[in-house]
Amino acid sequence: MMQALAAILTQLLHVALVVLAAPLLVGGIRWLKARMLGRRGASPLQPWRDLDKLLRKRPVLAENASAVSEVAPYLGFAACLTALALVPSFALGMALAPLADLLLVAGLLALARMALALTGLDVGTAFGGLGAAREMSFASFAEPALLVAALSFVMLAGSSNLDQIAAALRDGGFGLRISLALAAAAMLAVAVAENARVPVDNPATHLELTMVHEAMLLESSGRHLALWEAQAALRLTLWLALIVAIFLPFGTAPAGAGPLAWALGLLAWVVKMAGLALALAVFESAIAKMRVFRVPEFLGAALLLALLAAALLFVSTGLS
């Protein structure tokens, strides 16, 4: 009984934490990048202020927009939120842990991506279609890399359930395995592509020809735009939390632990996420955006790394 209550409580705390943290994460990365470029940068709270401002504005839709434009922002946001509720943050053994399957998380993200792409096509403008086509094409290279990277840790953990993977990699004593490092590199590349970050896409761009993600949102305004922005923040948080949960499982509170372990886990999670945000900011400041048709090579390299990781594991399990 206590166990179940603790599981529900951690689940609620987790959802509240990630919803609060997501815009902060985006703002934090922006602030760090501005600092590295020698600017003062807006406060990390700026995304929260932007969301508040957008919510208070009246949304304008094109005359020929259909119900898709009105429903898709909610659907995309709900899909991302559901997916994020499944990825463990500070504690394992949350109430939804039996549901937290990696493939399901990927499927929910695909649902959000589809909602976004259809919004881009709803009014029939050129840029929307351009962005939708590119977004879906990138996904056809990101999915294989993600799945093969997942193969490595699914092999080690014996399940594709994120909670079980995190627990297995935390307690299993696998140590520093080369295959895990290669899989982590592949996952990072996929995360960069899925979140439309530099070098795949530039989230701060205002030149339509180079845009992928933003091109689909040109017709959105008011609360619809706020939902899309919040969804992008949730997605970034999700990917970083996923990488933290799988590859940096130190300090996470185990299932059935008490509030003290949660507090420690929370601290560890914040430190790890901040570290990843710093790494992302450094990486984005140091590299230029690549041409659209170079993206398959980038993701193809990630796929090869992941395949190499899996092959190393095949050899090592075959020897033992």
Partner: protein, 697 residues
């Protein structure tokens, strides 16, 4: 046929060797009922011959009769799945050395359920649709009866009889609209592939029967083939059933034949006929070839399946015709099912029973799900063709405003095809991916690497399918109309809408309760995998202690998140939505009613990224831009094209070989009488020698 009609009631009284009396009374009616339904379908072809544009009631009679028959198929299939396999029912015809018989085990019943679902939906749609050419009425019930006979066959003769009936009836349906040259071309190619499939399967059946000395399945199972004979059967069945199912590289007929047939027939061909071909493949390779095949038997299925999945998914992104696009998506889905079957075969060969049930469950569940959502999508394409007058994506657009019900149903179907949770396609593809993630347990490093590559390619195929569905929905239903005809579209009639809504509801329901379906398919899974499957209950399980997928809980969570977001935003952001002119990055709206259609993304434009990223290497895609020089007053031109690899590498050499052989055969004309007689005699001797060799060895 008349004899069969009179004999069926008498058969109830025929004393039989197997089964107690009580069992006979419990089980006999299932097969008798099935036989009667098939017979009734055959008889429907008689009034259909009197159909015509002035006799609308004939079309209604045929389609209503087909609908009733398909509902009967469903009821019989569920009864057989729940009640266990009835004992075989001998038929009053067949070859003298081995009587024909009907039988319905779990495997056949599962596919009969798919046939019943797809057939009922297609017939209901056709009932409300304006009748096509009258000559499509006769083969339609024959097509359904042929498929049912294939599934209910208890021996090789009946199986081949049903298979050929299905092939030729569907050929007549493809050729029904033969005024157009492209349809004639499609029908000719389809006939060629059908003949090839029939020839391969007949040879495979001959090899099997010669080894066992019998035609009926029970006798064949007792003496499974061995050695080279088994390998030859594998190759022949793969070629024969694969050609009918649309397996790469024998898929060239599919993107031609599906658009040529009337829409409800395309739905049936894609939703049911390809599955019947897969049933034949599974029946031969999993059942009749015995329980113990080596592991490598799964490899050709896996490789060809994965190749088909990627090729079909990519082609679906490049096609500019709605029905061709859906046909290519069928190639992709058949590839996924084949890959799952190959995995099941490999797992079974390694004695990994639990994983074999997982992969076999993925194959059977995806066959059912694809049967329903592809039927839905083809029917929606038919509704669009009827209402907006075109199949070409570049002549449609903005139909969500004129056809809201069709658009909503098509979106659900496309979501299932794109494997979005919690719809049906995701559940079965989740099972397939889980079995691929566990395929490293096969042990051999070659197989492990192969499975890892297959995992990557299946992931790519799933994402490609999502891109293709985004393109279909986004260009056909969203945006602005691209032609005046498309702008004048209207919603389809009541019965057509009912068929679409029913199919969409099934797609949703199958997505929410995949575990119950898989439990229903349990006996069929056990038959394929050779091991008892897990009880799934409400969700899906990947194995003991492994991951689980609970779709209804996911749906509930999604709904809760949607509701919470909506309630929160209603409080925080109360301003009503306002309508205004399109922003479009600041470009001025062209001064036409719907804006200039050419400023919208086109079918070729959306295809461009994937055409460049994958199409150039896999499909020899080319883009030619003809830009006028500065000052030249002509318009620029852009042309994009691609070529399926099976055309230059398979069909073209085959055509050359046929021509060469025909040239050689011409010489036979000059033979003298003595030489002609000698030729006949030599053929006879050769055939007798072949029989002697096969029977002896």
């Amino acid at each position: 046929m008349l004899r069969a009609c009179c004999d069926v009631p008498l058969l109830h009284l025929t004393p039989r060797a197997i089964g107690s009396t009580g069992e006979r009374f419990r089980t006999f009616p299932v097969l008798s009922a099935l036989g009667l339904v098939i017979l009734a379908m055959l008889l429907l072809a008689v009034p259909a011959a009197y159909g015509g544009p002035e006799r609308g009631w004939v079309g209604r009679l045929v389609h209503a009769g087909s609908l009733a028959g398909c509902v009967g198929f469903m009821a019989i299939a569920v009864a057989a799945l729940l009640g266990g396999a009835p004992a075989p029912l001998p038929l009053p015809f067949g070859p003298p050395w081995g009587g024909a018989r009907l039988a319905l085990d779990a495997l056949g019943a599962w596919f009969l359920l798919i046939l019943g679902l797809a057939g009922a939906l297609a017939s209901l749609f056709a009932l409300g649709h304006p009748p096509g050419p009258a000559r499509s009425l006769v083969p339609y019930p024959l097509f359904l009866a042929g498929m049912a006979l294939t599934l209910a066959a208890g021996d090789l003769f009946t199986l081949l009889l049903g298979f050929e009936a299905m092939s030729f009836a569907s050929w007549a349906l493809v050729a029904a609209d033969h005024e157009q040259a492209e349809n004639r071309h499609a029908a000719r190619r389809y006939l060629g592939f059908a003949l090839f499939a029939g020839a391969c399967l007949a040879a495979a059946a001959g090899l099997l029967a010669a080894g066992a000395g019998a035609l009926d399945f029970t006798a064949l199972r007792e003496r499974p083939p061995e050695g080279w004979r088994a390998a030859a059967i594998l190759a022949l069945v793969l070629a024969g059933a694969g050609a009918k199912a649309g397996m790469v590289p024998l898929h060239a007929w599919l993107p031609l034949a599906h658009p040529a047939a009337p829409s409800h027939v395309s739905a049936l061909m894609s939703g049911a006929m390809t599955k019947v071909a897969l049933y034949v493949l599974a029946r031969f390779l999993f059942d009749l070839c015995g329980p113990a095949q080596p592991v490598w038997w799964g490899v050709p299925l896996l490789v060809l399946g994965v190749a088909g999945a990627v090729l079909g998914g990519l082609r679906a992104n490049l096609e500019a015709d709605t029905k061709t696009l859906l046909a290519c998506s069928t190639i992709e889905n058949i590839g996924l099912i084949l890959a799952a079957l190959g995995l099941a075969l490999a797992f079974r060969g390694r004695d990994l029973g639990g994983l074999a049930t997982l992969a076999a469950g993925a194959a059977l569940l995806h066959a059912l799900n694809h049967g329903v959502f592809k039927t839905l999508l083809f029917l929606a394409a038919g509704a669009v063709l009827h209402a907006a007058g075109s199949r070409r994506i570049d002549r449609l657009g903005g139909l969500i405003h004129a056809m809201p019900v069709t658009a909503a149903c098509a979106m659900l179907g496309a979501g299932a095809a794109a494997a979005l949770p919690p719809l049906s396609g995701f559940a079965s593809e989740w099972l397939l991916l889980q079995s691929l993630l566990a395929a490293w347990k096969l042990g051999d490093i070659t197989l492990q690497v192969l499975a890892a590559a297959a995992l990557a390619l299946v992931g790519m195929a799933v994402a490609l399918a999502a891109a293709a569905m985004m393109r279909l929905i986004g260009l056909v239903f969203l945006g602005r109309p691209r032609t005046p005809r498309g702008a004048g579209a209207h919603e389809v009639g009541r019965l057509e809408r009912a068929a679409l809504v029913l199919a969409a509801a099934l797609t949703l329901a199958f997505g929410l309760l995949p575990g119950a379906l898989l439990d229903l398919a349990g006996p069929a899974v056990a038959q394929l995998a050779g091991a008892a499957p897990l009880r799934h209950g409400l969700g899906l399980l990947a194995g003991e202690g492994a991951a689980a997928y609970l779709p209804w809980l996911v749906a509930l969570l999604l709904a809760a998140c949607l509701l919470a977001t909506w309630l929160l935003l209603r409080r925080r952001s109360p301003q009503a939505t306002q309508r205004g002119p399109v922003w479009n990055g600041g470009f001025i709206d062209p001064p036409l009613v719907f804006g200039d259609p050419l400023t919208q993304p086109s079918a070729g434009g959306i295809a461009q990224p994937l055409r460049r990223m994958l199409g150039t290497s896999l499909l020899a895609a080319r883009e030619v831009v003809d830009m006028p020089r500065p000052g030249e007053p002509r318009a620029g031109h852009y042309a994009a094209s691609f070529r399926d690899p099976s055309e230059p590498f398979l069909l073209a050499p085959l055509a050359r070989a046929t021509d060469a052989l025909a040239g050689r055969a011409e010489r036979l004309r000059d033979f003298s009488l003595r030489q002609c007689l000698g030729l006949g005699f030599a053929t006879l001797v050769l055939l007798l020698a072949l029989i002697a060799w096969l029977e002896g060895g």
